[in-house]
């Protein structure tokens, strides 16, 4: 079986396999953030929706970032928001704040100013009166970090 160069190349070309590697960006929740969320939520399922998180997508100064969380809820005696919990991904501590309300709040909305130590994800979770949990996440790019700088 004479193997010529031409035959060899023809054969090699026909059996060349193109390996297809798909790299999917995994929305990995860091364990510390996950643990903090589970601490509040327990084993309950967290659904996405209902909650709105207003935070600038790009902040120059992570020392004071305005943030508003609102939840679509009629705020009646049998359908209201019990609490809103806000978490972050990369600060030294995953908690930002817990806010407790009741039907007499009239509107499920809270605003504050927060610190962000790095470009990261902020997660807001609402607990409704039927003990269901709803969440939303927002990515924030921070150019000047908070928390960890040296004091003068």
């Amino acid at each position: 079986m004479p193997t010529t160069r031409r035959e060899f190349l023809g054969l090699a070309g026909s059996v060349t396999v193109f390996p297809i590697v798909t790299l999917r960006p995994v929305e990995a929740t860091p364990t510390i953030l996950n643990a903090a969320i589970r601490n509040v939520v327990g084993e309950a399922a967290i659904r996405t929706g209902k909650v709105k998180l207003d935070i600038p997508p790009l902040v120059e100064n992570g020392n004071t970032v305005p943030m508003t969380v609102s939840v679509a809820s009629p705020m009646t005696a049998d359908d209201y928001v019990k609490s809103i919990h806000v978490f972050n991904e990369k600060n030294p501590q995953p908690n930002i704040g817990n806010f407790y309300m009741n039907p007499s709040s009239g509107r499920a909305q809270v605003s504050t100013r927060i610190r962000l130590a790095d470009t990261q994800k902020v997660v807001a979770i609402a607990r409704l009166s039927d003990d269901s949990f709803w969440q939303v996440a927002a990515d924030v790019v921070v150019t000047l970090a908070a928390c960890t700088e040296e004091m003068n």
């Binding site: 020392n63 004071t64 970032v65 508003t68 972050n88 600060n91 030294p92 501590q93 908690n95 930002i96 704040g97 817990n98 806010f99 407790y100 309300m101 009741n102 007499s104 709040s105 009239g106 509107r107 499920a108 909305q109 809270v110 605003s111 504050t112 100013r113 927060i114 610190r115 962000l116 908070a146 928390c147 960890t148 700088e149 040296e150 004091m151 003068n152």
Partner: protein, 105 residues
């Protein structure tokens, strides 16, 4: 400590009103070091409560990720004339109060 409270002086019964509060506090995170490498101890407000004629209407647990001079805005339904009382509690026995009145027609 000084606090700034913004509550409408008058409201109609049943209106949803916004309450805004700002208090002066360093909110030292406990994660910063001095130039000598010494850790600066944590000194933050950990809890905020608002009562409307004695009934708690809003409460918050604060963490080091809340910016210095904590600002909080929230809502309530104006039910009756009376008094809002605000209380901030924090590390090292910190406690501060403020109040505001409202006339509901």
């Amino acid at each position: 400590m000084a606090a700034l409270i913004n509550v409408p002086a008058k409201a109609r019964r049943g209106d949803t009103i916004e309450i805004r509060t700002l208090t002066s506090h360093i909110m030292e995170t406990g994660f910063r070091h001095t130039m000598d490498g010494v850790l600066v101890p944590r000194d933050i407000i950990t809890s905020f409560t608002c009562r409307y004629n004695g009934t708690e209407i809003f409460r918050a647990d604060l963490f080091p990720a809340i910016a210095a001079n904590p600002y909080l805005s929230f809502f309530t339904v104006a039910k009756e004339s009376g008094k809002f009382e605000f209380e901030w509690i924090g590390d090292n026995g910190y406690s501060s109060t403020a109040s505001a009145t409202i006339t509901v027609e």
